[in-house]
């Protein structure tokens, strides 16, 4: 008989950030301390924006714009960057022991295992996506889902992802404090070239319910398990309430200063292939994100691949060069080579200013 996991499925209403994130934080705790099998939580949030555990929220977001739009903001307990959530974006929380036999080992292995489930779910609705190392799922060079995780109690893990069924790019541009704002001034929205949604890909109105069912079935097939629909027990309810009160409604958590210094820089370099214009977001000594733009010749898929290889990596010259080289192919950016692109990124790094 196949193993039984628990499923907390909430299709009734979109939840507040405090409620959704508190339930997610409870999942690995319950697996570690409440003798629970793995728990999958599938749900949607009210319109909101959520930063990674170690992000500077005031640097990442334009909080006044969030308030003006009535968008909630909060901080999750897993890594990574800013995500926009809402009633048309599937939120997924999974609590599981890292030693679960069906889970591949190591940081890369776990991300890969969970990616396979999501790829299968996308395939079920008719989308051919692929894993873009190290943490994204893409369709034709555009991001459709991102993954993040945290090791929690004992050997248990909280895994987070969000899957874009539909998405408001204009809203994202307005509330995020990124170099995109400057790009927008030039009438160019880089998000639209780098992100896609289930509805954009299929050209039909796929419901969140359909997508959630596809994810549920994909877990059952990929892990050879079956789900029992369930709701939090008494111990879990108490833990959820604790997280809501002590964490997700507290300014000390939401505006936490336990994060690297956020800085941003722009670098311009004239090359044989054209002008390279680099927008670099730095988190301490690491690259949080980079946008490669300019008037050179390349494809958005190739640019995204380069940008992805640099996300959440060290901003040292040799690391930048090695990470670009790891995905580089000839004429990836026509007339530009790896040392030249590295030089442009280092120029952006030199020009960094505090946000």
């Amino acid at each position: 008989m196949s193993e039984e996991w628990r499923l907390f499925k909430n299709l009734r209403r979109s939840v507040s950030t405090a409620e959704g994130l508190a339930v997610d934080d409870t999942l690995p705790q319950s697996v570690a301390r409440n003798n629970s099998p793995p728990i999958l939580h599938l749900y949607t949030f009210v319109p909101s924006v959520i930063v990674g555990k170690y992000q500077d929220i005031e640097a990442a977001l334009r909080l006044e714009r969030c308030k003006a739009h009535g968008i909630e903001f909060n901080r999750r307990s897993t890594g990574g960057g800013t995500v926009i959530m809402g009633p048309e974006i599937v939120a997924l929380g999974l609590g599981i022991n890292v030693d679960h036999p069906r889970l591949k080992k190591g940081v890369g292995g776990v991300f890969q295992s969970l990616s396979l489930v999501l790829l299968r779910a996308l395939d079920k609705v008719g989308i051919e996506a692929y894993f873009q190392p190290k943490n994204d799922l893409e369709v034709n060079g555009r991001k459709i889902a991102g993954l993040s995780a945290a090791s929690e109690a004992d050997n248990c893990l909280l895994f987070h992802t969000s899957l874009l069924v539909d998405f408001d790019i204009a809203l994202m541009t307005d509330i995020m404090n990124t170099p995109v704002i400057k790009l927008e001034d030039k009438g160019y929205n880089c998000f639209s070239q780098r992100m896609t949604t289930v509805r954009d890909e299929l050209g039909r109105k796929v419901s969140v319910t359909e997508m959630i069912a596809a994810i549920q079935n994909s877990f059952e097939e990929e892990f050879s398990i079956r789900f029992k629909e369930d709701s939090p027990d008494e111990w879990e309810e108490k833990t959820i309430q604790g997280f809501i009160e002590e964490r997700y409604t507290k300014d000390e958590w939401i505006f936490s200063h336990r994060h690297p210094r956020a800085r941003m820089g722009v670098g311009q370099l004239k090359t044989k292939g054209g002008l390279l214009e680099i927008y670099l977001a730095l988190s301490g000594a690491s690259i949080e994100s980079v946008l490669v733009t300019g008037d050179f010749f390349s494809t958005s898929e190739d640019l995204h691949r380069i940008e992805n290889a640099l996300k959440w990596t060290s901003a040292r010259r040799e690391n930048i060069e090695n990470n670009i080289a790891s995905v580089w192919h000839e004429n990836m950016i026509y007339g530009v080579d790896v040392p030249t692109l590295t030089k442009a990124i280092l120029l952006a790094k030199e020009n960094q200013v505090r946000l």
């Binding site: 940081v107 991300f111 301490g284 690491s286 959440w312």
Partner: protein, 149 residues
């Protein structure tokens, strides 16, 4: 320096299963993360450290380490008081990657009592057992790879 299957695992150190290492000098214990950890995790982008003067127990999670979009744990290999934090880490956590046993040290724990420390060290991986530990960790990953294929 001992290199085991491509991983640098210095002989004189004691290792916790969660990949923190301990360098023992009397009751002063310097702590960092292993070469195997940093190779697996990739570039370390942030480390959330405890405060000096905090008391920690052996096996307790005393810090968090972010690489990629994963937040991992720094587990105290021994009990005692945290007496020093590597302040260089605030500027460049990449030191864990470039020099895990040197400039990439993370903190110092001062053990209260040498006898207690000696008995705790017996719970850690040291000497010949290190090779088995590395073999076990590699085997886990290979088993999974084989299963996947």
């Amino acid at each position: 320096m001992a290199e085991i299957k491509g991983y640098n695992m210095p002989d004189e150190l004691f290792y916790h299963e969660e990949h923190s290492w301990a360098k023992v000098e009397g009751t002063r214990v310097t702590v960092g993360m292993t070469d195997m950890f940093q190779k697996e995790a990739g570039d370390i982008v942030f480390i959330d450290l405890p405060e000096e003067e905090d008391e920690v127990s052996q096996g307790e999670t005393c810090g968090k380490i972010q690489s990629r979009k994963w937040i991992g744990k720094l587990v105290a290999p021994v009990s005692g008081e945290i007496t020093e934090i590597n302040e260089e880490m605030e500027e460049d956590t990449g030191l864990i990657n470039t020099d895990p046993y040197g400039d990439g040290w993370i903190l110092v724990i001062e053990a209260e009592d040498e006898d207690e420390l000696q008995s705790e060290l017996k719970n850690l991986i040291h000497g010949d057992a290190v090779r088995d530990f590395v073999d076990r960790e590699i085997a886990k990953a290979e088993e999974e790879k084989a299963k996947a294929e």
